[in-house]
């Protein structure tokens, strides 16, 4: 009986509920679906528009500041005559930088002699500038790349919750043939501070607010991603070595 009475009752009420909105001909369901789709469409098209605007702005900025990218003071790796030059802004304490470092090395290994890598330091993490000083100081002993690889490999031991514990980074530099006493002695030198200041001001000018950021022959990634980086390198390789 209850079921039947519900059914009986639903019949007169149903048209008012579902079929017609009070204002006019369209049903509530249609109104809802159209509204949902309109909002979703606005979100997606707004996102696409914003992304492409941002990518274009980054490209313009990089084109205007190309001179800032090819910084002579930066550590450089690979064939000096390579026609594809990757300038990487990295933070030694950044996890994504550590992950991407291996991929960049792989790209260079896959294209021997055709890619050169330069590193700029952007110590965004708290305490990271201490580690950058260690790296710059290791550079004076010609062990920069070994030190960088070792620090990346041991990163989870000296960064906790995105905070750097510099004293825990030192063991990573052992066994690389470095005179650690000399690293300690020289890491606060004025020329290192000047290089770090230059990196910081160039990063600001290029609007590098996140790491890692790559510029391949002066071109930024259209948006962040490993596939985007690999695609950009492939494009530049094809242009340079057609």
């Amino acid at each position: 009986m209850s079921r039947k009475s519900k059914r009986n009752h639903a019949t007169p009420d149903a048209p008012a509920q579902q079929a017609a909105a009070p204002s006019g001909g369209i049903s509530r369901r249609t109104l809802f679906v159209v509204a949902a789709l309109a909002l979703l469409l606005a979100f997606v098209s707004g996102g696409l528009f914003y992304r492409s605007e941002k990518a274009q702005a980054a490209q313009r900025l990089a084109a205007q500041n190309k001179a800032l990218l090819a910084s002579a003071h930066s550590p450089s790796y690979g064939n000096a005559d390579a026609k594809v030059h990757i300038v990487e802004f990295l933070d030694p304490a950044c996890e994504t930088c550590a992950v991407f470092y291996g991929h960049v090395k792989q790209l260079m290994a896959d294209n021997p002699g055709r890619i050169r890598l330069s590193v700029r330091h952007v110590p965004l993490h708290e305490g990271s500038e201490h580690v950058v000083r260690m790296l710059e100081s290791a550079r004076a002993q010609d062990r920069y790349w070994e030190a960088l690889a070792a620090l990346f490999a041991a990163q989870d031991r000296w960064t906790v919750n995105h905070r750097v514990h510099p004293e825990r980074a030192w063991p990573a530099l052992e066994g690389l043939g470095l005179d650690l006493e000399r690293v300690r002695r020289e890491m606060n030198a004025a020329d290192i501070a000047a290089r770090m200041e230059k990196d910081a001001s160039d990063a600001r000018a290029l609007n590098v607010t996140k790491t890692p950021e790559y510029f391949v022959n002066g071109r930024p990634m259209p948006q962040f991603g490993l596939a985007e980086l690999q695609g950009l390198v492939r494009e530049e390789l094809e242009i340079a070595y057609r």
């Binding site: 009475s5 519900k6 009986n8 009752h9 007169p12 009420d13 008012a16 509920q17 579902q18 909105a21 009070p22 509530r28 369901r29 109104l31 809802f32 509204a35 949902a36 909002l39 979703l40 606005a42 979100f43 707004g46 996102g47 914003y50 992304r51």
Partner: protein, 154 residues
């Protein structure tokens, strides 16, 4: 045959329920716009959300799914389930607006790490910022839900 009591408003009284439906639907529009807006700020513009923003999201996002459950078929009791969320979000948004305005002193600010909740990341027309947008959205939703409740009881 006995008339079922709660639904007895029946045919002649279908107008108030129409109005209530539209009010709940409008509330859903606000919740969905605000949700997509919040996602736009964090996922597209990549502005990091502060802690208070996360708490407001916790009370805003479910409404996008809860309200339609009361729209099809229309069930005025959806207000009972939606209003506590809208009220809680509204209180947090008031707190953050006061924080941004500087009316709540430094000492009781809950976010000292990460992004400070008093930091203004976006400012349109000199005074429209994200916490204010959130406050306006929650205020509107509360008003709409209360209005829907009043209408459906008539």
């Amino acid at each position: 045959m006995s008339e079922p009591a709660p639904l007895s408003s029946g045919v002649p009284a279908s107008r108030p329920s129409d109005a209530a439906w539209l009010l709940v639907f409008a509330c859903w529009l606000v919740a969905t716009s605000a949700t997509l807006g919040a996602l736009f700020f964090s996922e597209v513009m990549e502005l990091p959300p502060c802690t208070l923003c996360w708490y407001q999201r916790i009370f805003m996002f479910p409404l996008v799914l809860v309200l339609p459950m009361g729209l099809f078929p229309f069930d005025a009791r959806v207000v009972r389930f939606a209003l506590p969320l809208a009220l809680a979000g509204w209180l947090i948004s008031i707190f953050q607006v006061l924080l941004v305005a500087g009316w709540i002193p430094e000492g009781i600010r809950p976010c000292s790490q990460g992004v400070p909740c008093s930091e203004v990341q976006i400012e349109w027309l000199g005074f429209v910022n994200i916490p204010l947008l959130s406050f306006l959205a929650f205020s509107t939703m509360n008003a709409l839900l209360v209005a829907a409740h009043v209408r459906s009881r008539r």
